[in-house]
Amino acid sequence: MELTNLTVREAHELLKIKKISSVELTQATLNRIRDTDSKIKSYITVTDELALQQARRADERLAKGENITPLTGVPYSLKDSLSTRSVRTTCASKILEDYVPQYNATVVDKLNDAGAVLLGKTNMDEFGMGSSCENSAFFNTHNPWNLNHVAGGSSGGAAAAVAAGMGAFSIGEDTGGSVRMPAAFCGVTGLKPTYGRVSRYGVISLASSFDCVGPLARNAYDCALVLEAIAGHDSHDSTTYQEKVPQYAANLNKSIEKMRIGIPKEYFVAGMDAGVESALQEAIRQLEKLGAEIREVSLPHTQYGLPVYYLLQVAEASSNLARFDGMRFGMSVSKNAQDSLDIYLQTRRDGFGDEVKRRIMLGAYALSAGYYDAYYLKAQKTRTLLRRDFETAFASCDILLAPTSPMPAFKLGEKINDPLAMYLSDVCTVSTNPAGVPALTVPCGFSNNLPVGMQLIGKHLDEQTLFQVAHAYQQETDWHERLPSL
């Protein structure tokens, strides 16, 4: 038994019957990180001591048999955009290189309460701006299936860590595909929940009206367990839903017979990778075999997804990132400064990377007087059309099925100098964020020995159906159980 390849569910079963201890499991995972992460580079910060301390506490809980949750004693990692009290939180930016938050994100508090064991903070594109993890100010994360390829982004460290056995699950954040795309590239299961299902409090914002915190894990069942632990209303986040969190995992064994699965034709684009397309077709056949009814649907405004997303996201980001001003925390470059403006300019010049600067400028431009109506307002109106597309489609089906990405992981360096090509790699994921609907990516095959992801998109707050379909699929397939050789 390889401890580092255990699923959350398996780990929980073994911990519960005391076949293994959390300290044992945590130590094995820390060893794995020590031995493997020099190749992958998924972690920015590894919290060895804290992890073992939390593991010991979890073992006490397990020994007493009190207050045990499915996550008690299970090691996991956090994207470095989630605030952790006393643990450096960088957002993969130089401007926050030495920033240590004074408070925990709500999600972190919830995971602490559940008894999960934090291994460390994972790499990402700086402030979530990127699709390959190459925009990290510190280093690139490598795809565990092929080290010359990207892990995807922005939650690339999270996906690579789960794929390479460096944590049973990970918490990522998805603004336009940042959980799903790297999960697909690295061959793991990843969820972007409904906007407002999981608290954003303490999560360093990229674009407030899109940001969704979600789990990455080895299968849909595990994602369901983690979502149960982190979802719910938060009095610190006015955009969270009041609705009670369902017991997702307990209700996964339902048949998907007669499930109406819509295939949005706009997502099967010309120029799509042949391996991706055939893997998707095979997955659709598999679901049909399980009794699902497949039908073609249209999301007619899909072509506007990218422009709408990249306009609104940069607008919100330009404002969200204003607080990084060198005044209260993080990097402050005040050398030779004559006034506060000099401090702002110098700090932001030296602290932010190129992509961040690019988006701040684009966003500020889109919001300026005289341009607001033509850009921001028009994009907001189009956002409504995108939302309606989904509402219309869901009138005739229960979920939608699409590729997570039209191609598998590209090569490191392949797109980094071409921002537009990089933006285009989000084409299959960006539309769900403006619409707020949940989406889950599930491994469904390989193309050129790189994993391919199938994306399931659901109705508002209907993560349950996504988990149900994915679980049924994963009972019949073993793509999610394949491991990269490292």
Binding site: S83, S238, S319, F324, L341
Partner: protein, 479 residues
């Protein structure tokens, strides 16, 4: 050419809530023990922190809106106003822009001594206060205790044509805010700040010329002086053939001048957009109605009622209604007094107010019932007016029962005609030369004789009776 000013006012009023606008920190920055104690990730603008709107602040804002005859928008929204300044931790202020909570109200003010003027209130919107900066020689200190305190910005239309009207508008708004209990009106603590938008134009013209905006006026005096200065400055510019530039001005109170802070070219582009961290405020008709039902009687209505019910003059009524506590005190005293409301009013306006101001005291310092007793004792001639003042002062200083004080101090009035007659006769007999002068035409001496009698009785003799008997004695002594 004769010019007239065109004045509009923006009033920033802190809302008296327990907690800040978007977090749970105490909003009472004035009583904070030291800088940066009432702060949290949200009001310090830490990464990842989010705002949650303060329900009470929304209620208070709606209450003010209704008091200013505004319509309350059933759907209002927060927006971000983006700019950089060290007192603004997030790099944006959460405010309201396209959809303020209240719009299109009005307030009646005195345009001058004779005329009333309906000043239109364009809008009232909720926003958060900034931190407080203290500038030292080579650095500045930031105190975030004030960061995120709820503010209501009340914006008038440029409807005022005199500084008096602007002053009356500001004074009335302050009174209303205090009546509603939403703001202490304590200008020294900066809980109420004014901004005046001023332009001037030839009288009888209806053009709107370039205006300047004077920021951060922290007292009525500053509002009046800055406005007067700015009006004169602009008139001088036009008279010498120049043009006024649109700009933002500061007021230097010590030097008594306005100073340019920012020209139109340097004006900020605030890049307003809807605050994505906060859902819009959806207010139901029922909710708005429930707020309306909380509206107390406001100064104008109370003044009218006092005039009608208590036969007071406008100025008497306005004085009493200038403060809710004073108006309530008056009504309570009237309930206890047998004397007329007008008499009670005169006492409050005179001796009582003098004591309040001298001692910086609140009306409750002396029970209204005690004041009523004093007024009645004077009216019933149990004590004289000056003895009444002595009793009131005693109550302010040491408290106690008015009747008891009269007894202890021997202040009871003497109304025994025989006794007073004796004293008057003695004084007249002792001063034959003064009587001669009086008879020769120096009638002002009457008061001197009365005064002598009062002194002889330590002020306790009934003054009316004393005067009557003195006059009678003087006439009897005419040859």
């Amino acid at each position: 050419m004769k010019y007239e000013p065109v004045i509009g006012l923006e009033i920033h009023a802190e809302l008296l809530t327990n907690s800040k606008m978007f977090c749970g920190c105490s909003a009472d920055h004035a009583s904070a023990s030291e800088p940066n104690v009432n702060i949290c990730p949200t009001c310090a603008g830490l990464p990842g922190a989010l705002p949650v709107a303060n329900k009470k602040a929304v209620e208070l804002a709606a209450l003010v809106g209704l008091a200013l005859n505004c319509s309350i928008n059933k759907r209002s929204a927060f927006a971000r106003k983006n700019y950089y300044y060290p007192d603004l931790p997030k790099g944006y202020q959460i405010s309201q822009f396209d959809f303020p909570i209240a719009e299109k109200g009005w307030l009646e003010v005195n345009a001058d001594e004779k005329n009333q003027l309906k000043v239109r209130v364009r809008r009232a919107h909720i926003e958060e206060d900034t931190a407080k900066l203290t500038h030292e020689k080579n650095y500045a200190l930031v105190d975030f205790n004030r960061s995120g305190v709820p503010l209501l910005e009340i914006v008038s239309e440029p409807d005022m044509r005199t500084v008096e009207a602007a002053l009356d508008y500001a004074t009335k708004i302050r009174a209303i805010l205090r009546y509603l209990g939403v703001n202490s009106g304590d200008m020294e603590k900066g809980v109420l700040r004014f901004e005046a938008n001023i332009s001037v134009r030839p009288v009888d013209s209806d053009e709107l010329r370039k205006r300047t905006e004077i920021k951060n006026l922290n007292s009525f005096r500053a509002l009046v002086r800055a406005s007067q200065y700015e009006i004169e400055r602009q008139i001088k510019i036009y008279e010498s053939g120049g043009t006024v530039e649109q700009e933002t001005l500061g007021w230097d109170d010590a030097r008594g001048v306005t100073i340019s802070q920012r020209s139109k070219e340097d004006a900020h582009d605030y890049r307003y957009f809807p605050e994505p961290d906060l859902p819009p405020l959806n207010l139901s008709d029922e909710w708005i109605q429930s707020i309306r039902e909380q509206l107390p009687e406001l100064p104008e209505a109370k003044t009218a009622r006092f005039m009608a019910d208590f036969a007071l003059t406008p100025s008497e009524a306005r004085l009493l209604t200038s403060e809710l506590s004073l108006a309530n005190y008056f009504e309570e005293a009237v309930r206890h007094a047998k004397s007329s409301p007008k008499t009670v009013s005169a006492w409050i306006a005179g001796e009582f107010m003098r004591n309040l101001n001298e001692r910086n005291a609140q009306p409750v310092a002396v029970p209204a019932e005690s004041l009523a007793q004093i007024v009645d004792m004077v009216a019933d001639k149990v004590i004289g007016a000056s003895a009444g003042k002595t009793v009131l002062t005693e109550l302010f200083e040491r408290g106690g029962d008015p009747a008891q004080i009269v007894k202890e101090k021997g202040l009871a009035q003497i109304s025994d005609e025989g006794f007073i007659q004796e004293i008057v006769a003695k004084i007249l007999d002792d001063n034959p030369s003064e009587i001669e002068k009086y008879h020769a035409g120096k009638e002002t001496l009457l008061q001197w004789f009365v005064g002598q009698a009062a002194r002889a009785t330590k002020g306790k003799a009934d003054p009316v009776l004393t005067k009557e008997l003195t006059l009678k004695g003087l006439e009897e002594r005419r040859k």
